[in-house]
Subunit: 170 residues, 2 copies
DNA sequence: GGACGTTATGTTATAATATAACGTTGATCA
DNA sequence: TGATCAACGTTATATTATAACATAACGTCC
């Protein structure tokens, strides 16, 4: 079976996710045009599938859901598209899940840090220079020179925390 | 071929790593005895192999190097041993590398954050409550309730930075 | 003592994630 | 025209991890 096109995350604030997708695709088109890189049909389709929700999406979900029109596709095609999308800051990889999420602010390139809800799986980018500053300070203390980092913080998002207090773990 | 039993990390401060291994094994024995959990021969051997250096070690390196005396072993055995060692805080997993490192201070249980050198691959645990405090503050701002996190910071360690300034990337 | 539970390990097979290597196509342009 | 290039297709395989079931070793309860 193809994986279900999950409804957007639970919680009171469920929204019209088609707008999220449309916005993401439009921004991607604009950015790629501006940067003179080629957002091909394949890459656009992969981006659309990454944006099927605000949860991380696995490569093989994309592969299995790909059939645009009538086409199946194979792992290298999708991994290449993901590489392109990551290079261009349109998608981030969540290392601890082997999965991918659409970037919510691709217009300025960045490495992102994440809050990840263990209940609804929603991912939010942590928007803060404070983290970088904290790490830089610690790094200086041991003469470590930072180049990049993986920061993935798990817990309950507001909605899930309010809803349940206790019933979730993982 | 079996993977090479790598010499300890490069850098001026190369040390007698046999002592690191011996210490780690002794501490593991003491802790397991104190906690009344069973550090079996298999688990001890896996721990020894994780400690073959200060670099992360991959599960299949352990599987391939295992043959203690004469025995080969299979993935489930090693993954189970790694699960035991992680549950007991003797080993940490590096998510972004799919690899494992020995814990340097197993006597008090903790989730660790890491500095990882992209040149010599040395891993050091970041010892600081400041990181946790920074994240807690950000989390409170968006009503996120943290349960655990993956923090893996890449760059150059002191020795590698001094040695080369520029010649490494990755 | 023997039925049973428990913990750890063995064994077989396979799932899930990712890449290597090489071939094809279609656009561009000297 | 044919060299070059970017993107994609295709086949195969590498790498990482787990499911499912069998066995062994040991203690304990009657
Ligand atoms: Zn949405
Ligand atoms: Zn949630
Ligand atoms: Zn050492
Ligand atoms: Zn180094």
């Amino acid at each position: 079976m193809t994986e279900t096109q999950k409804a957007c995350n639970p919680g009171p604030a469920t929204h019209d996710h088609r707008r999220c997708i449309a916005t993401a695709l439009r921004e991607a088109e604009d950015l790629c045009r501006a940067r003179a890189v080629n957002l091909t049909a394949t890459r656009r389709r992969v981006l659309e599938l990454v944006w099927q929700g605000h949860e991380p999406v696995k490569a093989y979900q994309i592969i299995n859901n790909f059939r645009a029109g009538h086409q199946a596709t194979k792992p290298p095609t999708v991994y290449r598209a993901l590489d392109f999308l990551m290079e261009n800051g349109l998608v981030h990889r969540i290392e601890s899940l082997n999965a991918f999420v659409g970037c919510t602010r691709p217009e300025n390139r960045h490495q992102a840090d994440f809050f990840i809800c263990t209940a609804c799986h929603r991912v939010d980018e942590i928007d803060s220079g404070k983290i970088a500053a904290t790490f830089e300070k610690l790094a200086r203390q041991q003469n470590f020179t930072i180049s990049h980092k993986t920061v993935e913080v798990y817990g309950l998002c507001r909605a899930c925390h309010e809803k349940t207090g206790e019933q979730f773990h993982a």
